[in-house]
Chain length 492, copies 2
């Protein structure tokens, strides 16, 4: 073993003085690479810091710090009284650090392959008439900024420490009171979990209530994010047709014995918009009781009801605690807020809290605290009232424009929400129509893509009206009608 | 069918004028209940609004609004020109709304039963010496409050709309630059996913990389949140012993052929604290390449290194893109922030983004924007420097106190992090000791509870020093030594 001390390493590092990367980091990176590639052989003595500094024209401190770092990382070994040496690494593990050939790319799990195969949904388009778009500019950001700034200048110990997995107690109390008064939801604040948007509620429900292979009934048409979350959890979503009144359990025929959950949007069917009648609600509860199953009520935008106050929830009809209830704040504030709630029956609480801990510990305190203040001071309900007035006007303008430009196309009946479905005659290619509309600068969504079972499909367009001033809606609808005419779409 | 109009409903609702619940809501709730219970029979005509208002002594508008709400919800049917009637609901579904007997409680899924069975971890205790506790009071909340308030007063369109599932681009760019400079992590901003704390990274990794039944190697002792997240995803965590140098793949014997992932904390083993030597890092990468497996590097608190700069990551040694890298911001800011990052190899990006969409769409913008500003203005690195100085002092005080009060107990070697492990002799019941310490107002954690395999267990105490002023540490350690003496613990 050579104990000679070479004046310089095998190949002198070349430092780039014009780079914004510090010289010390460049030196460390190049020496690491030389060791790993085997160019600086194991147990070789490296030059003294003085010699290397002189050869490179850098300060000796730069080399000293680099050697210290490389010693800490195990590339060099410093022995007091003798030269610093390259570590004795197994020869077999050294060599050029080339990427493995593409053919040797690691095998993906079946889950990863499935995830990669999910289509990118067309309803992500932005522009006039895009479904789900909201009047974000109506949100009082100045007030929000003031509240959140105040809160975080002096947050206090409880807010900066780890929270309970269910979320901030002050916000959960606000949510329980809000849901009791607007939806007759029966829940203590303990039963309210703050979630990162209702998508997280769907994911948790799928992972807690169902075992792999279990069947969950879903509405068809319905929300892809639910269907896919169920499948991701290993469950089998079973699409049940939606008729003129909503989720139609009677039409489903023989529901498999292992159906453990039915997921519904009773206040306002997604995406069609009808309200589930009382007799069907009672029948659903009766089914759940007889079949020992759970119900998930997604009340995603029932805040915006135009014919009166929001409707009482399905959850409020359930004396058995078989109904879970979820909703979101993002629709009445701004999309990127990502805060929602999941109301859980008492006997499921422990399981959901454990799942939440494993999923992401607890929701961030940062937005929760500001939202709790916003609600406690009455700003949330005031903003809902403003939005309802604004959306009532925009919805009226859309309906008038549709009556003028597309009088023969039937509308899905709906008295809530921020979208309106226009049905098209069977056989019309609504996807092609949407592509044509996109060229005209419009972003309606094709109804057909919201169906899971081909046999249930009915073509149509989903139009969002909430983000567009009433005065602009007639022109947009006029252009849409022109697209339909140009496509030669037959009348309904 | 009776078409008579009764002067009053069968039993007059009794309104409570002292309640804070509005009279209209009380009236609606009681009429709903009367219909559901069958006390107001289907197709019965209800009293006129005028008659009911007079009988109850309320305004006619109150009754009108209540009837409207009940009509919208399907309890009443209004026919123009004739009396409002109770809806014709199926008799079989009506009756007293009694909760089902407890014996009829719905069957839990196997997953829910498993979740409910998870133990509540003892290391959640709060108090002096609690592991993981941080100097939250050192965080510049005034500055943070100012930044977040400024940002949200005028957020701009991009920040309030739905974000990419990977998170805010400005924050991802900051993270990529920070990790490149401090850990030599090789990643473009596109490869950085902002996650809701590193627990979400573990959950996503388990759900994307592994199929049910796949084996994942984990360190023993290690982090329960990882072990349980793997099991929740249906994978089988296999505990591998940690020797004096860290994760010891060689000691693991025959690793099952279906091991698809190894999860390690190479910068600073959790909870013991040693650094994984370079030869073991290279061996781990070699194992992953030979076995077609993935590596997960959890760099949970390597920011706090006391003997020099933080160490380069395992990820930086991997030319193949088999290593995923995760870390958190919550440890250097405040626990309830819940923001972290996951760096993903290019070819896994699509799968992880799809998984993130299904898990919770995207991380909330609210804290991300403020953190991006905080980093861009240099406050994050400045705060890390302040914390390192503070923790260096506190760590020194802890070590001096341990040398004075517990000179014969060996310490786990560690030059990073916010905890120090004190080993106890084999056979000592560290859980009993921790209970005794809790009575003395201290919150150390029992090392034995961090092991998964009984054969690997070594008893000890995990002491956190970061949240306690240096001047107070000697007294706490003195009390701890008294607990050990009182417990009659033999010397190591």
């Amino acid at each position: 073993m050579s104990r000679r001390r070479p004046p310089l390493p095998v190949s002198l590092p070349s430092l780039d003085r014009s780079s914004h990367e510090p010289l010390q980091r460049q030196l460390v990176a190049q020496l690491r690479e030389a060791v790993l590639a085997g160019r600086l052989a194991p147990d070789t003595a490296v030059p003294s810091t003085r010699a290397l500094a002189a050869a490179l024209g850098v300060s000796r401190n730069t080399v000293l710090a680099a050697y210290d770092q490389l010693t800490a990382e195990g590339y060099l070994v410093a022995t007091s009284g003798s030269a610093t040496r390259v570590a004795e690494l197994p020869q077999a593990l050294l060599g050029p650090r080339e990427p493995a050939p593409v053919a040797a790319a690691p095998r993906l799990s079946q889950r990863a392959a499935w995830l990669t195969s999910l289509p990118v949904r067309p309803h992500r388009a932005q522009g006039p008439l895009a479904p789900g778009a909201l009047a974000v500019d109506a949100f009082p950001f100045h007030l929000w900024g003031r509240l959140i700034g105040q809160r975080w200048r002096r947050p206090g110990r409880a807010l900066t420490s780890a929270l309970p997995p269910a979320g901030l107690p002050a916000l959960r109390a606000q949510v329980a009171a809000f849901l009791a008064s607007t939806r007759a939801v029966r829940a203590t604040p303990d039963q309210v979990l703050i979630v990162s948007g209702s998508q997280q509620a769907l994911d948790l429900v799928a992972r807690v209530l169902l075992d792999p292979g279990d069947v969950a009934l879903v509405e068809d048409p319905g929300y892809h994010g639910l269907h896919d979350a169920l499948a991701f959890a290993g469950a089998r979503p079973l699409p049940i047709p939606v008729d003129a009144h909503g989720f139609d359990l009677a039409a489903a025929g023989a529901v498999p014995e292992d159906a453990r959950l039915a997921c519904v949007t009773p206040s306002h069917q997604f995406p069609l918009g009808m309200t589930l009648p009382l007799d069907r609600r009672l029948a659903l509860l009766d089914w759940a009781r007889r079949r020992d199953a759970w119900l998930l009520e997604d009340d995603y935008d029932a805040d915006f009801r135009y014919a009166g106050r929001p409707l009482a929830s399905l959850q409020s009809l359930d004396p058995d605690g078989r109904t879970l209830y979820t909703g979101t704040f993002s629709r009445a504030t701004f999309a990127s807020l990502r805060l929602g709630y999941l109301v859980v029956p008492d006997r499921l609480l422990d399981a959901f809290l454990a799942a939440r801990r494993l999923a992401d510990t607890h929701p961030s305190s940062v937005a929760q605290a500001a939202l709790a203040d916003f609600m406690a001071e009455g700003h949330y309900e005031a903003h809902l009232r403003r939005l309802r007035a604004l959306y009532t006007e925009r919805r009226g303008a859309l309906h008038a424009a549709l009556a003028a430009h597309l009088p023969d196309h039937p509308l899905a009946p709906s008295d809530a929400g921020v979208n309106q479905v226009v049905y098209l005659p069977p056989g019309v290619d609504d996807l092609a129509l949407v592509r044509r509309a996109a060229k005209a600068g419009l972003a309606p969504a094709p109804l057909s893509t919201y169906y899971a079972a081909p046999a249930h499909v009915r073509p149509g367009l989903i139009l969002g009206f909430a983000a567009t001033p009433a005065s602009e809606l007639p022109a947009h609808v006029g252009r849409l009608a022109a697209c339909l005419a140009a496509a030669g779409a037959p009348l309904a």
